[in-house]
């Protein structure tokens, strides 16, 4: 007699994939979410216009930089086109005292933190490794070894906890609790350092936000090769909250980031946000995306890019044409200033690089610097 068949209940979401948050849909219509909508209720039209302005400046900056590279004025450029909502939105939700560890494509975050175009282009023009003073903007140098900055962010956040524990606060009278943000991408999410960072952050309850921009492509390798589930799903495995948002929806990004930072400041540990977006440009100017992705994919993704969606919403909310016209004029002027700032960057002195290696005197470096100086002077004497 055959055994009676039992019905196995297959859970609809066996891995606990977080729901995707969207507050402004592809048609620029508001969506309500009981938990997250309150986090953007205070944002009026004027504020959103300012956010839109920063996104437009970022887009123009990015286009100018791509052009400058094509003209041979930059060694390389990593475009952020299409990721403006994820970057400007998350930066908008931060406070100045929060410390940010970027990867190398976070131009919208950098611009939001007040970094000048020239400072930002210094790395890519080959005149400096970091064009700004990180402490002035609480924005660390770009990191090009993927994911290497993520444990730094975690350690910095552990230090913020120690400041409180050991009585080393910068300002003991302030209630402000800074947080740390670590930006990385879908490709980086595979690196072991991300895993170790999440373990350490959880074990030490570090006030750090892991902000992943999933732009679907790690140079030529699609996201499906990095993970079978959205990256936000992984947070549960480390014992903290993971949020998954439409990264091209400015409101969802702001709401999720504000929610996460509020939680982190309250001492409720790390949070992971995965902003699902799309890299409309090449990985870098050395890349040729036509070799690995189709025009159809690019066209359909372009329809859902973030700036057009926000413009549509703002127009529906009554933002006058004059705002957009004035902004276009400003953006054009800004583009010219980006070009000028790149071309006006001073070339560095090679000799200065001897002084950067160590913070205290190192006899070998001193000896080599001395030798080089004498070597150079030898040519001058001959002339």
């Amino acid at each position: 007699m055959p055994e009676q068949q039992t019905t196995v209940e297959v859970p609809s979401n066996p891995w606990g994939i977080p729901a995707r948050l969207q507050l402004l849909n592809e048609e620029a219509q508001l969506q309500h979410d009981d938990k997250f909508s309150p986090y953007v209720e205070d944002i009026d039209r004027e504020t959103l216009q300012q956010v839109y302005r920063t996104m437009m400046l970022t887009r123009r900056f990015d286009d100018e930089a791509t052009a400058l590279q094509r003209q041979g004025q930059l060694a390389l450029w990593a475009p952020c086109k299409g990721q403006e909502a994820a970057q400007v939105g998350s930066a908008f939700a931060t406070r100045p005292e929060d410390f940010i560890f970027p990867s190398y494509r976070e131009h919208g975050v950098a611009i939001s933190r007040g970094i000048d175009p020239g400072e930002l282009l210094a790395l890519f023009r080959g005149v400096n490794t970091c064009g700004w003073k990180p402490q002035d903007h609480n924005f660390q140098a770009y990191t090009l070894v993927l994911a290497a900055q993520v444990p730094h962010a975690t350690g910095y956040a552990m230090g913020l906890n120690f400041d409180a524990d050991f009585g080393n606060e910068r300002d003991p009278n302030s209630d402000e609790k800074p947080a740390v943000l670590a930006y990385f991408g879908d490709g980086s999410s595979t690196e072991g350092e991300v895993h170790e960072s999440m373990v350490f952050a959880a074990s030490y309850n570090a006030p750090v936000l892991f902000f992943v921009q999933n732009n679907q492509w790690a140079i030529s390798v699609p996201f499906s090769t990095q993970s079978r589930v959205p990256i936000a799903t992984r947070a549960a495995g480390y014992g903290f909250e993971g949020l998954r948002v439409d990264g091209n929806d400015i409101l969802a990004v702001v709401a999720a980031t504000r929610y996460a930072l509020e939680k982190i400041r309250a001492g409720e540990g790390p949070v992971l946000i995965e902003a699902e977006t799309y890299r409309l440009g090449a990985h870098t100017t050395a890349d040729d995306p036509t070799k690995y992705r189709t025009n159809e994919e690019l066209e359909s993704r372009t329809l859902h890019e973030p700036i057009g969606r926000l413009e549509k919403y703002l127009r529906a909310q009554g933002t006058p044409d004059s705002f957009f016209e004035e902004l276009m004029a400003e953006v054009k002027e800004y583009g010219a200033s980006v070009r000028n700032s790149a071309l006006n960057l001073q070339n560095p002195r090679f000799e200065d690089f001897f002084e950067r290696v160590y913070a205290s005197a190192h006899p070998l470096v001193q000896e080599e610097a001395q030798w080089f100086q004498e070597y150079q002077e030898g040519f001058e004497e001959q002339n």
């Binding site: 400096n128 993520v150 444990p151 913070a359």
Partner: protein, 334 residues
């Protein structure tokens, strides 16, 4: 300072492990920015008990039993240093440092320069190194040349409890990252520690035995071996000078050059494989500086070009008194 001297004896006899423990304790007492991190360094006191008692004294937050991940230990140490702390992470064994190699060589070493000198990263990484403790693979290696080859790092060793105490104290005080290699087979060796030696410079070499016919330059666990070889050579009629290099980066070439200009002969000994090792670097530097003083080519005594072997044959691999004596004899054939 004089009152402190009166309270505690200025000189104490300690094992190297205890001297290192004391250095950590004194550094932590002086500044609450000094924090320790590593695998099993808390309640257990580390696999060599070097951090014994520190967790009880300073609490679990300043003596962190970290999760098991070397890249995480060094990576978070970098972040802590950027926040103003002076982390002293421990890598449990030399052969376990490689998961953290990226963080050390591409991040820690470059952070000061690549941020335009805006961040100092005073991280001191303690690593027990070297062999002859009868252990299993990956527990007896000497990877110092890999780090010395990386600009931005300082690499320091010690051969005595005194040098271990002060070497570590000064490494922690350094604004630069330091890899502090502790010769693990000497952890239980006793010696006098002079706590008044506050102007100790860990980045210099020291002549530990004077001689006039030949110079041996070495460091770490081989210093006592070289001294024994020098003593044996004395009986054969050779007067041998022994230099403890102490610092691998910077390398105190001046002290060695001064000695070689006097003796005319140099033997360099280390446990690490000879090919691509510190001996080659020092040999080239001395040849450049002392060419007309040299009576013989600079000779190297080191590990062979093979992974560190199993315990039953490790003493064939690591230079001992006889292999150093053979090199001394060979030098005098020129």
């Amino acid at each position: 300072m004089t009152t402190e001297m009166n309270e505690a004896p200025a000189v104490e006899t300690l094992t190297m492990a205890k001297a290192i423990n004391r250095a950590l304790r004194d550094a932590m007492s002086e500044s609450n920015k000094v924090v320790l991190m590593g695998e099993d360094i808390g309640k257990l006191g580390g696999v060599f008990r070097v951090t014994e008692g520190l967790s009880a004294e300073f609490g679990e937050k300043r003596v962190m039993d970290s999760p098991l991940g070397e890249a995480g230990i060094i990576g978070t140490s970098i972040g802590l240093a950027m926040k103003g702390y002076r982390p002293v992470p421990e890598i449990q064994f030399d052969g376990f440092v490689f998961p953290a190699f990226n963080q050390i060589t591409s991040q820690l070493s470059k952070m000061h320069g690549r941020t335009g000198k805006n961040f100092e990263v005073p991280v001191t990484i303690r690593i027990p190194f070297g062999g002859v403790i009868g252990s299993v693979e990956h527990h007896s290696e000497s990877p110092e040349a890999l780090f010395a080859h990386t600009p931005g790092l300082r690499v320091v060793t010690a051969s005595s409890p005194h040098d271990a105490y002060w070497g570590l104290r000064k490494s922690i005080e350094s604004p630069d990252p330091v890899i502090f290699f502790e010769p693990k087979r000497r952890y239980w060796m006793k010696g006098a520690v002079n706590f008044g030696h506050t102007n100790f410079d860990p980045f210099t070499a020291e002549v530990v035995r004077a001689g006039k016919d030949l110079t041996i330059a070495t460091y770490g666990a081989l210093v006592p071996v070289a001294l024994a070889a020098a003593q044996a050579a004395q009986e054969g009629g050779y007067s041998v000078e022994v230099i403890d290099l102490r610092s691998i980066s910077p390398l105190d070439v001046e002290t060695v050059a001064e000695s070689v200009n006097k003796t005319g002969r140099l033997v360099i000994a280390h446990e690490a494989p000879t090919f691509g090792g510190m001996g080659g670097e020092l040999s080239a530097s001395i040849t450049e500086r002392c060419f007309y003083s040299l009576e013989a080519p600079v000779l190297r005594v080191g590990g062979f070009h093979m992974p560190y072997p199993v315990a039953k044959v490790e003493e064939e691999y690591v230079p001992g008194i006889d292999r150093i004596l053979e090199a001394i004899e060979r030098s005098f054939t020129y």
